[in-house]
Symmetry: C2
Subunit: 408 residues, 2 copies
Amino acid sequence: MALLVQKYGGTSVGSIERIEAVADKVVAYKDQGNDMVIVVSAMSGETNRLVALAQEISPQASGRELDVLMTTGEQVTIALLAMALEKRGYAAKSYTGGQAKIVTDNNHNKARIKSIDHQNIQRDLDAGRIIVVAGFQGVDEESNITTLGRGGSDTTGVALAAALKADECQIFTDVDGVYTTDPRVEPEARRLITITYEEMLEMASLGSKVLQIRAVEFAQKYAVPLRVLSSFEEGEGTLITTDYETDKTMEQALISGIAFNRDEAQLTINGVSDTPGVAYQILGPISDANIEVDMILQNVGADGSTDFTFTVHRNDYETAMASLEKTANQLKAREVRGNNRIVKISLVGVGMRSHAGIASRMFEILAREGINILMISTSEIKISVLVDEKYLELGVRALHEGFDLKSE
Amino acid sequence: MALLVQKYGGTSVGSIERIEAVADKVVAYKDQGNDMVIVVSAMSGETNRLVALAQEISPQASGRELDVLMTTGEQVTIALLAMALEKRGYAAKSYTGGQAKIVTDNNHNKARIKSIDHQNIQRDLDAGRIIVVAGFQGVDEESNITTLGRGGSDTTGVALAAALKADECQIFTDVDGVYTTDPRVEPEARRLITITYEEMLEMASLGSKVLQIRAVEFAQKYAVPLRVLSSFEEGEGTLITTDYETDKTMEQALISGIAFNRDEAQLTINGVSDTPGVAYQILGPISDANIEVDMILQNVGADGSTDFTFTVHRNDYETAMASLEKTANQLKAREVRGNNRIVKISLVGVGMRSHAGIASRMFEILAREGINILMISTSEIKISVLVDEKYLELGVRALHEGFDLKSE
């Protein structure tokens, strides 16, 4: 018998039939003797319908009123799921974010959870009720309705699991777990049984869309075991936890997965004089334009001048290039170059920490396939390389094979 | 400068265009220097859409979860109207029933308001904000969401007006006021400038659909001046108030209006022995079947036996007849008769109190037209007669003419 927090996303509750299917799933867990807290999103399509209504009135609608509008989406789902559970003869009770006392700051549309007073939910759990909580929403300290931003239902689930000291937070989604890499690129990709929070964070930040980064960070901070499972198929999914907690550590592979990101663009400014503050002069205007910079590389050239390279999201390429050209004029740089047809491929694995030679083996595998590396960046558990976009599939498959990640 | 509470129903906010039109109307009142509190219903169609979703899951959905579901309807409207007001450059703030601290009992789907803590709204009004409140909803003392039942938005408006000591509660609807009678029956019907609460209550209970009875009762109890106006046309509408408050009292007509009700059915049991308790023996089974009885008449016949007649809603006719036939057997009654092709026509007016002869004049007018009266009932400010349904239009028009109610 355990206390489980389960989160079902918009696709999983996208129709009455699917809500009924979720209810069947939930009562099966309840029948096994578990205490159940269910977090749901708005039915798929509902959020877009509400956004369209707001847009029709004003593209500049205030954050406060947008939140009042958008939160009706999950409120519909909690009522319908609670009804479906009651129909099956189970005591159920729905909670809006406010009723669940999920208190956030007052940053409308992207609020952060400050506290959860879980007393009422705990009392209802003790009385044998199944709890259904609206994801993605809370209230600020003055009872204004807030939202955690899109995808914030994962965060609601993890935060509730932490507050209730749940045994597991289970995120039901349309994939059946976390894979060594995207199966659409490498059909032999393998579902991972476990992965660490750190690895999952790297995977998520590198473009794996399975989980929201904030939810994983939250889970790590409060040591909430997090499991990703499919709403539509049976299976164990992937458990995300600390590396030392799992008994799989002994046989932990060096590499957990290969992530990639297609949305990269690279900009280079050549022949800038190597004086203090030059990096700030180059990147200041970029960050002032609210463009996020990912990889940064600075080389001192033979003549004592500097070459400076960085990457941005492909959508920001034009704006960043315009800004950089202006800077180049001011700095009397020799040249500005750019490339928005590049991708980033990353190896992720906590095993890297204790094993040297991962990077050189990666470079060797890529070289064998004739793939030129444009840029490299490393962290403690990740090595990323930038390559021409035409090499994406080839590179991912070669690394997947080379690091022996495929299914048995 | 006044404090106005305005209520706009589902048709008035039934589309984005209509919400924009309401916003235009509201800012015009605001520009005249009024403090504005706006109560809105769900967009027309939305309530039915939500009911259909619930029905699909369970026709026996619990009241609590139905209320969670249904209240999303008004929550959408308050957000959209607040956005439309903000777009026009006005500070606006939406309030759900819970945020407005409209506390009700816990009778889900038909809750009654217990208290309103209007401090927050008053503070926002003082800061110059236009307040937009979700009608029809509140919370019980444990923060469960409740609804006041269909049409309850009128009650929300009146209750807020009472709490805030507003100068007037204005109900915007699809008619431009209260008429001497239904203009579809008598084209010369005249809009009333004022009418008393008592008269309005009689009109409403007799089938005039302009206002909810509960809202009028509430307004009378707290002496809130209530005005009915059109959402779509300009005009003063009809002011509902106490008779002594209006300076129109002097020239108050004897009769304010003629109401009628098409949904009547009459049942008679003849030749019952006139013993104590016979009325209870007849009506007990009817009320046990949850059938509401309207007019009741008991006559002692020549032979000492009793004839007993009563009316019910036409929808309940078959059930009531079956029950009455069973009773007739037990009581060895001579005969049971029924008629479900009858209507009720009523004269309403506080002027009746001080003027004798209204009833006889009414009967005279009907007799002149050859209309046979099947049953009569009177109250202090109302005389109702039951007639064959084919005489409805003729009777209404003759009385409208005879009591000189038509437009100048």
